[in-house]
Symmetry: C2
Subunit: 363 residues, 2 copies
């Protein structure tokens, strides 16, 4: 039974060099009060100078950029294949004239890493979204020819105005045409004001536990409202963290659309496909949800044939040293076996078979 | 089999008069371009002068303030008992020196409305949270003596700094002591920037479908992180809209707490009760979720003995005229029968028996 991890990140050497050369978020740097380790600062607000260095970003070691460590992690967790993706914030921050070249270099770098371990690594590519749209479309066409690439990872900002921006249509059209799935992943979270004055006391919990999935939920709902899937009926999107909160809120979203007088009057949603149809036709969900409660809702919403195991490695390592199996990984393994209560076939599908079929892998 | 609606709002006459006397949000007013109806503007940003009048707030008719219409709605939907609550934004906007008197007047008004229909109406009271804390505590003590009051409805702002504010401790202590449940209800949503530049085209969908439940989720997670339930182990909270998204995200929240180096170092969460314990001991969820997917997650998280039927009346009326049963209500009825698949006992509990037991009602 193959186990395939579709949510696992890498900072390839070309990308780490780029982050080390920077002095504003996102960047990698060493703080004078913790000289023995570099820290990776990727979230807005994480470099608040008043915060302790230990709450500024996270330590970055070889597990972030050394592909051999990815393979070692896979071996320790019985993962046969990983579909690696560049970790956030991808290339959103690059000047327009550099983005295209940088994306090509990084995508080639990642494809090359995969080639080193035949049958064990595939990847989602990264788009130069700050470049002109034609450059983005060209990179999508080029990615379709790279041996190990199986889609693209994207954040929620699109070209700067979100994923409901009609200017993205040529990009969605190219992705649909080349059967490249979008792995939609959060990064920006929510404005820090929503966490209140005590947020710093809670470490990274609020932005990570809530900001990330809520950002994803808003982004995908905006796509839905702008009728992306009515225009691109074969565009497939894999949502990180089991859809943020989409499975849980789908009923409320659908009800609010159906009860909105303004929408009805404007005729904006006439003939639209409903959220359940899209959840079962265009949306895939990873199984990175850490409990069988959420996982069962994800299964109910999209179907056991549309869920895909993931780990979020190298994030959420154990706080203790010398732990063999990571708690964050075993929580996701347990959620799957508990959600299916010994029904082995759908559990195997979620663990690996779905990914093989959907992403056309050859493990 | 009694059917009891625990999520149903009223703007009693004293409160409507107050809103009509105001010119900034929240307020009730008549627009020159729609002279035949008053509109209720309660959400931040809803009175954007560039928006169409039809997207400014919502029409307010007698179903908002006439208690006879509440009873008619209950009769039409086979609801035996309603536990009414003042609709948002409650009294958060009042000057400190007026809040205490206004709260007393409104709470007496609401208790009096209940007295008119013996056995059919109970209520959650409203706290004067902008008044000095002693005034709030006094009102809690007074409410405990009112015949039809079974707790208090509260928004997420608390005294202005959220529900994780230690200054709320005397209020939590008084509520715990007098066995008054908090009905925690959203109002402020999220900063409008998160909805992007096209938000106006989507009517109220994004703030209502997402802003509301996400606000609730953030508020309750902040309570959890500030260890409110470690200090007040018998404080009970009923979460609106099936917990916002708490049941779905509980696993991720727990995992993020357990993996946060900063929290661990600070020792802030040592000996804390975990989220599943609190979900099954201190938290109740309403069943206002419009689909069996979300409802099943709510049941999995808190237990069928902790879920309570609700309608959110008078919000989400049908857009068509002359509809007998409201779609928004039948969606919640269907979700319950479908979640329990003909298992009648727990369905009856959610529809009414739980409310009788938890709120000590005498229908």
């Amino acid at each position: 039974m193959p186990v395939i991890d579709v949510h696992t990140h890498i900072y390839p050497p070309t990308y780490v060099d780029l982050l080390r050369s920077r002095t504003t978020v996102p960047y990698v740097r060493t703080f004078p009060d913790v000289p023995d380790s570099s820290r990776l600062i990727i979230l807005p607000g994480e470099d608040d100078p008043s915060a302790l260095s230990t709450s500024r970003g996270r330590p970055i070691g070889p597990e972030y950029f050394d592909i051999a460590q990815k393979i070692a992690f896979m071996d320790a967790h019985k993962i046969d294949v990983s579909v690696i993706s560049l970790a956030n914030p991808w290339l959103d921050f690059l000047p327009a004239n550099e983005a295209g070249d940088t994306a090509r270099k990084i995508n080639d770098d990642v494809d090359g890493l995969c080639a080193r371990y035949p049958g064990r690594l595939y990847a989602f590519g990264t788009l130069p979204l700050s470049a002109p749209v034609e450059t983005v479309v060209k990179e999508i066409e080029r990615l379709a020819g790279l041996k190990h690439i199986r889609g693209v990872i994207m954040g929620t900002s699109g070209l700067g105005n979100g994923l409901d921006d009609p200017a993205l249509d040529p990009i969605y059209a190219a992705l649909e045409k080349h059967e490249q799935l979008i792995f939609l992943h959060p990064h920006y979270g929510l404005p820090s004001s929503v966490y209140g004055p005590r947020a710093n006391e809670y470490g990274h919990v609020l932005p990570l536990a809530l900001g990330f999935p809520l950002e994803t939920t808003i982004a995908v709902t905006r796509m839905l409202l702008s009728q992306v899937w009515d225009r691109f009926t074969k565009l497939n999107v894999l949502l990180a963290h089991s859809g943020g909160t989409l499975p849980f809120l789908a009923g409320r979203i659908e009800s609010c659309i159906n009860h909105d007088g303004h929408l009805k009057k404007a005729g904006n949603t006439e003939g639209r496909r409903d959220i359940w149809d899209i959840l079962k036709t265009n949306i895939y969900l990873d199984a990175v949800i850490y409990s069988n409660v959420g996982l069962k809702a994800a299964i109910d919403a999209s179907g056991a044939d549309r869920l895909l195991f993931g780990t979020d490695h190298p994030f959420f390592p154990p706080l203790e040293e010398h732990v063999g199996e990571w708690h964050s990984v075993s929580a996701n393994y347990s959620a799957i076996s508990s959600a299916f209560k010994g029904n082995e076939e759908p559990a195997k599908d979620v663990l690996g078979n779905n990914a093989i079929r959907i992403l056309k892998l050859h493990p």
